[in-house]
């Protein structure tokens, strides 16, 4: 692909730009100063949403406003649809892309965490071809992903939700559109009203989106009654690693995370099978 060659010939002092809604502020603040910007916004193969068997392929350039309105995403990867109204403000959603958000990997952003909750796979292109990385292996550290220099996120592949799946999303923010204090998305598979599989992904409580694995382990095989939910809440804070924050200290974030988990599990428990 021409864009990958352009990066190579830049001496690796380049950034890809899609919607630019995170990159351009970083440039304005001089947090980044690449010699070259490679505009990928017009690459057709990075667009579009398509059902491919049991997977939904979401092109990396799909804008937040398109995620919000897309019927295929609503049906097959609904956590993205539920999260989309909370992603920034309308004008940002008109230009920002889901691939940009996921590869930027802001730990307080909605889409990276929903990628983790949905168990999606990320298709990454390099000059040798493409490779797919599971969401669990993708988010490495603060703003760091499995994408190597020069590589490009091409598409998000989401295993489609099936009958028996239930899900819920919510975030706590001071104002609509602000970065969340704490947010969470849950995807659970039920068999005979008991949790067979569950993925609980929190955001804004660590250097990456984080799965609450101890809580997940408690819930597997159980019915979501009050005692079970309380047991999951009790351990939920242990998996999280919120940073020191003058306004929202880690203890408060852990508390809010437990509250949020309780609400979301309660919501899932009440969803009709």
């Amino acid at each position: 692909m021409e864009a990958l060659d352009a990066f190579e010939s830049s001496g690796e002092d380049a950034s890809y730009i899609a919607g630019g809604q995170s990159l351009v502020p970083a440039l304005a603040l001089r947090l980044q100063a690449p010699q070259l910007l490679i505009d990928i916004a017009h690459i057709e193969t990075l667009r579009g949403v398509e059902l491919q068997g049991d997977w939904l392929r979401i092109g990396a350039l799909t804008r937040h406003c398109e995620v919000l309105a897309d019927p295929l995403i609503r049906t097959h990867a609904p956590l993205y649809s539920d999260a989309a109204p909370h992603v920034a403000h309308p004008a940002i959603r008109n230009k920002g892309t889901i691939g940009g958000s996921i590869s930027h990997a802001d730990p307080a952003s909605e889409f990276p965490a929903m990628t983790l909750a949905l168990g999606a796979e990320l298709e990454i292109a390099n000059r040798d071809g493409t490779r797919r990385v599971a969401a669990d292996d993708f988010f490495v550290d603060l703003f760091q992903t499995a994408i190597e220099p020069g590589e490009l996120l091409v598409a998000i592949h989401v295993p489609v939700v099936r009958p028996g799946h239930r899900w819920a999303f919510h975030e706590l923010a001071r104002r609509r559109g602000d970065f969340a204090l704490v947010g969470c998305g849950i995807l659970a598979e039920f068999v005979d009203d008991a949790v067979a599989q569950i993925r609980i992904a929190f955001f804004a409580v660590g250097s990456t989106p984080i799965r609450a694995q101890q809580a997940e382990d408690i819930l597997i095989g159980k019915r979501l009654d009050q005692a079970t939910i309380a047991a999951a809440q009790a351990v939920a804070g242990d998996d999280l690693d919120p940073s020191e924050d003058e306004h929202v200290p880690p203890a408060m974030k852990r508390h809010l995370a437990r509250v949020l988990l309780g609400r979301l599990l309660g919501q899932i428990a009440r969803q009709a099978p």
């Binding site: 630019g20 809604q21 351009v24 010699q35 403000h89 004008a91 230009k95």
Partner: protein
């Protein structure tokens, strides 16, 4: 890397073509090259909403778009909306309700209001506040702005003083 690149776009119905530095934002291009200073630059990092313009039918931050990226696009600024009377009722309502003091944020507020009211239905006050969450006003406290937009939303819905409706996305 060349020092200048040629950009061509339609701005407020007029085709324009200029050679500019690739690092120029659309906001700077509109204000400095085209002298359309109704688009304001406040934070220049996509937070305050003073620089909103309509780009190919969608409201976006002109400070977060490079002018070269907008080459080939159709742009409408607050001057364009104002001159073809698309927001005359909003302007009148802002005036009546005292929905501005210093006026710096007003072009962005009008862009957001125009976009919101171009969608079907009558937005609630909560919808209006949600839509305005990306527009900062440091004078008014927003109440009067919400009042003005709500007033126009109802008037347009009732069919009174309806201007031509635009196809503008969220």
């Amino acid at each position: 890397m060349s020092d200048v690149v040629n950009v061509t776009m339609k701005v407020n119905g007029t085709d324009v073509s200029h050679a500019i530095a690739p690092r120029n934002t659309l906001a700077d291009f509109l204000r400095q090259t085209l002298e359309l200073t109704g688009t304001h630059t406040g934070c220049e990092m996509g937070v305050c909403g003073a620089c909103l313009v309509v780009l190919d039918g969608r409201v976006v931050h002109s400070c977060l778009t490079f002018a070269v990226q907008a080459s080939g696009s159709t742009i409408e600024t607050v001057e364009g909306l104002s001159e073809r009377a698309a927001i005359a009722d909003l302007q009148e309502a802002f005036h009546q309700r005292n929905a501005l003091q210093c006026g710096f944020c007003t072009p962005g507020m009008l862009m957001t209001a125009h976009s919101l009211l171009s969608q079907p239905g009558v937005p609630s006050r909560e919808d209006i506040r949600d839509a305005l969450s990306g527009n900062y006003c440091r004078c008014t406290g927003y109440e009067a702005i919400v009042d003005a937009i709500e007033m126009v939303a109802r008037k347009r819905h009732d069919g009174a003083a309806a201007p031509q409706n635009e196809e503008v996305g969220a």
